[in-house]
């Protein structure tokens, strides 16, 4: 199908983009990579009166180290994040997740900011940001603010972003020598939405793991932390962690999998990812 008619404006700065959003009473939509937005326009699931294109805002795609944090601009495209040596070194969880996101042609165009702002419950990056304790920088009519990833994802396609807000960057705490990460997902075909996925981070001290963060996706309306399993892993009890998942997660069935299947697969992924957390860092 074809989209309904809309007007189009190119924003030349973050402030300009927010101003354009404000002029349309929250009805205009930001156009980043467009890999979800244009699909929903084509299917007429959405018909905004105006798109504000943020693709040409200078510097919005930068990937940098700034005092202990990796800064990833909202318009950094998946393919650039996937190839970034800064991300591979300082935010290896994101590098591991990248190949699982859709397909090559989509990653050439899709952006990190678009994926996070869209907040698809089956998406990889929201879970990674919660696991890493990232902070999301938002520009609005009242200026800038910073929201922790855990507070940003509110529900299905629902975030802390207001109708006139723009996500401008994420700040990811840089990995240290003690940081361990793990990532796994199960999908029917490569690039399909996950049946279940798990993004994890922890700190290692000797043979023990601490500050364990296990964040599942595709099992609820938003990324879900498995807090019972996290405590059990920190205590070295993998079987206890697997058992705790039945309380931590309340998956609902989707078209492909029953809740029982999802819960079972969550346990399978838990064991695989914990093994990754225990591996020495390359």
């Amino acid at each position: 199908m074809k989209p309904a008619a809309f007007a189009y404006a190119k924003a030349h700065s973050i402030e300009h983009a927010v101003e354009l959003l404000g002029k349309h009473d929250g009805e205009a939509r930001l156009l980043a990579g467009g890999q979800s937005l244009i699909a929903s326009l084509n299917m007429r699931l959405a018909s905004p009166p105006m798109l504000v294109d943020i693709n040409d805002i200078a510097g919005l795609d930068r990937i940098d180290m700034t005092d202990g944090h990796v800064l990833i601009g909202a318009m950094a495209r998946h393919a650039d994040v996937e190839r970034s040596s800064i991300i591979a070194k300082h935010a290896p969880l994101i590098s591991r997740a990248m190949p699982h996101i859709a397909h090559a042609a989509i990653r050439n165009r899709g952006t990190i900011g678009g994926s996070l702002a869209y907040a698809d419950p089956a998406a990889e990056l929201p879970a990674c940001m919660v696991a890493l304790g990232a902070k999301l920088e938002i520009a609005g009519l009242q200026g800038r603010r910073v929201v922790a990833a855990e507070d940003f994802f509110k529900g299905m396609f629902e975030t802390a972003l207001g109708p006139n807000d723009m996500l401008v960057a994420v700040h990811v705490p840089a990995a240290t020598a003690q940081t361990r990460v793990g990532f796994e997902e199960l999908a029917r075909r490569h690039g399909d939405y996950a049946i279940v996925g798990l993004a994890a981070a922890a700190q290692v001290a000797g043979a023990k793991l601490s500050d364990v963060r296990l964040v599942y996706f595709s099992v609820g309306d938003a990324p879900v932390r498995a807090r019972g399993a996290e405590s059990a892993i920190a205590a070295g009890d993998i079987d206890g962690a697997a058992a705790a998942l039945s309380k931590d997660l309340l998956p609902t069935a989707d078209l492909e999998s029953s809740a029982e299947v999802k819960l079972h697969l969550a346990g399978v992924l838990l064991r695989r990812v914990v093994r990754q957390l225990q591996e020495a860092r390359a």
Binding site: A5, F6, Y8, L31, I38, N42, H190
Partner: protein, 162 residues
Amino acid sequence: MSDTAYNVALTVNGEAVSETVEARMTLADFLRDTLGLTGTHLGCEHGVCGTCTVRLDGVIVRGCLTLAVQCNGKRVETIEGASDSNELADLQEAFRVRNALQCGFCTPGMLLAAQELLLRGGVPSREEIRVHLSGNYCRCTGYHAIVDAVEATAQARAGSAR
């Protein structure tokens, strides 16, 4: 000009093009309907099937998930351009020899997607080929012959590069 139409100037297959487009027109529709370049096919129109694959500033994208108005000042290459320049001739021949197409509907997108992988150099594993082509659907071949053709082309190119 309506209040939702915009002027764009871009390069398509090396030729400068200037047109007025509706904001809602996708790049794929622009190529097919405005420029008559019907080698770019349209299947699902929501980014799943990959048959509308074209190159935008040198990288493959979904023609159905890119707006024509976004391509102002950019460089677009379609299967017509890539075919006429002969850069795909060996890959096309490998597809023909191995029956890596039947109805041919997916072939333009399949060739451009495969070429992006081949341009990285070396000989990708069959698994890497399958992963790279996972965003391009083929409903005829079962993919096996396509993977064969891409693998054979990679081997031939690596051999002649030595």
